[in-house]
């Protein structure tokens, strides 16, 4: 009972997060590339109910920023004009699911002020909006890379387990070699072979493909184990006795048996791959500006003055914490559940 409720919570959180990220354009008040160069590193906007003179308002509102007398980059709130926080406002045009181009946003404020839930970066770009758009890259890069790695593992593992003999030996030795190299060093080495300066889409696909193609070995061994033991099960032997072909055996009997392993491996691999993408982009080898990824957003926090003065620049790193935690909880709960049913 406890395992299943954990499972529901973790899965629910992840589903909500992915939906939020898919609808980033609607939920984010700004575009990922719209800049406010006059207000770099604006702190998280404070939402007020009481104005500067102490009068209460019914609608929450924000103030615009003006430079304080301590020089550029230090802000005080401009008390002259309270601007109410509005919901379902018109704003920047964005692309939704690649088909629609609406301009409606969940929330926003009127012109001179900006609402930066998590502050803004050095170009005055809204950190919250970029975080949502960056999630599209980071979360889905992990998911797609895991799908890729697992389909590779399924092919290699079932061939290895089904055919046995020399094929099996050769494939498993190859897997041993692939596992012997520390994964991130291998990742960087392969990255060095591919073009460094590419457009955002190509960079995304490159990152996904590298991570996916280099990680087939471990899950492939697991799949092979399942296929090997499944091959000797009585109903499989019976099917074989009736003259079932190898592809039929694989399709109807063996692949369905690998399903639990595949699901748990998926949940184990996705957070690893999310981190791998974040790290690649952090090091400047993944997704590049202006398109955000949690990695290249976090890269700004490497600079000492930014790290000290603008703590909100760490947000893309902090948001990783609940995501990975949720995946870990999900993995644990799944394993527990599968052990119970097995």
């Amino acid at each position: 009972m406890r395992a299943s409720s954990k499972l529901q919570w973790a899965a629910g959180f992840l589903v909500v997060l992915h939906v939020v990220v898919i609808f980033a354009g609607f939920i984010a008040p700004y575009n990922y590339r719209s800049q406010d160069r006059l207000h770099p590193f604006a702190p998280p906007t404070r939402v007020h109910l009481a104005d500067c003179s102490g009068k209460m308002h019914l609608r929450p509102f924000v103030y615009g920023l003006k430079d304080s007398d301590q020089g550029f980059g230090n802000y005080v709130e401009d008390c002259s004009q309270p601007l109410p926080l509005r919901f379902f406002v018109q704003g920047d045009e964005y692309s939704l699911l690649g088909m629609f181009h609406p301009t409606l946003h969940l929330f926003g404020v009127d012109a001179p002020a900006q609402v930066n839930v998590l502050g803004s970066d050095g170009f005055g770009r809204d950190q919250f909006s970029r975080l949502l758009y960056g999630g599209q890259v980071s979360l889905f890069a992990g998911l797609l890379a895991a799908l890729l790695a697992l389909s590779g593992a399924l092919v290699v593992g079932s061939i290895s387990g089904l055919y046995g003999g020399f094929t099996d030996d050769a494939l498993m030795r190859l897997a041993e070699i692939a596992v012997a190299v520390p994964s991130f060093y291998l990742l960087l080495a392969v990255r060095s072979l591919l073009p460094l300066r590419t457009g955002p889409v190509v960079a995304f696909l490159l990152v996904v493909c590298i991570i996916g193609f280099l990680s087939w070995a471990r899950p492939a061994r697991l799949v092979r184990g399942v296929v090997l033991s499944g091959r000797e099960r009585n109903f499989v032997l019976a099917a074989r006795g009736f003259g079932a072909s190898r592809s039929y055996l694989l399709r109807r009997h063996l692949m369905p048996m690998t399903f639990p392993v595949m699901i748990t491996q998926m949940v184990v691999l996705v957070p690893q791959f999310i981190l791998a993408e974040v790290l690649l982009s952090f090091l400047g080898l993944g997704i590049s500006e202006p398109f955000p990824s949690w990695g290249n957003m976090l890269a700004y926090a490497q600079q000492y003055h930014i790290l000290i003065s603008y703590s909100w620049m760490l947000a893309p790193g902090l948001v990783l914490l609940p995501v990975i935690l949720a995946y870990h909880v999900l993995a644990d709960a799944l394993q527990e559940k599968l052990q119970l049913t097995a």
Binding site: R173, E176, I177, A180, V181, P182, S183, F184, Y185, L186, L188, A189, V190, R191, S192, L193, L194, L196, L275, V278, L279, F282, L283, G284, L285, G295, L298, A301, Q302, Y304, L307, I308, L314, G317, L318, L320, L321, P322, I324, L325, H328, V329
Partner: protein, 322 residues
Amino acid sequence: MTRYLIRRLLQALLLLAAVSVLLFALMQAAPGDYLSEQRLAGHMSPEAMQALRAKYGLDQTFAVRYFRWIASLSHGELGYSVSYNEPALQLLLPRVRNTLLLTLPALLISWFIGVPLGVLAASRRGGWLDRIFAAGNGFLLALPDVLLCLIALLIALKTQRFPAGGMSSPDLSDAAATVRMKDLIWHLWLPVAVLVIGALAPIMLHVRSSVAEVMDSTYFRAAEGHGLRPFTLLFRHALPAAANPLISLFGLSIAFLLSTSLVVEVILSWPGLGPMLLEAVMARDVFVVLGSVVFSTLFLVAGNFFADVLLYVFDPRIRVQS
């Protein structure tokens, strides 16, 4: 004894050789090299390019180039760094030393802390201490290395108690050895702490689960019934019996530390293999990339071999088998 170890050593060497061949093949199969990146700069004639290609042996067959590469190890080269204009090994060796300087203490410390804590958690199974440890481990496992490093850097910068990076203070090059040693340790503090925190959780979890398994066994209950002191019971009877999977994990934790140390080195600007590899990737300095990856594999393979040796020493069953 010797037969088992020699067999393991040969396996390790074979694995290393196979990795190096495959990596070399991979590097050669890729389109483009240092010279083709230089072509983009547009100040070299095709003839000059051809001459350089011949000079660096880029026009030879794969086998010839691989054996030349390996053979160059005999005169301390392991290929040539085109961007530094120096033999790759000369560049890599000090970096390897620095990485070991960071990872070996971290490895030892994390095991020295992780094993007792894991045993403690196992002995209080289901208690509040165990639950606190479990929650803490869950948190640590979910904490990304990058974030941990940045937080460490932030602490260093805010408190000014720790150096914010590098591995020595600038004005100490001709100070006494003891002073320099102290300075080095002072610089080691933060990166080692980050590595230990990163490596601790898996160690604790594994120690806990394997010790807990032993505690369910009948002989352990019998020993308990004899009224042995809990300390003797846990560390003399439970831990050695639970050691087998842990020793394998010891080998694996080297791999884990290596991936973390890459990030730590880059963010806390520790002049180890990580920053060198990153720089070489950016500059397409093939042999430095190749060398770094081969060295990291060497660490990993050596770690696993060491684990095999330990296993032989600690597990009588393996001794009987061979």
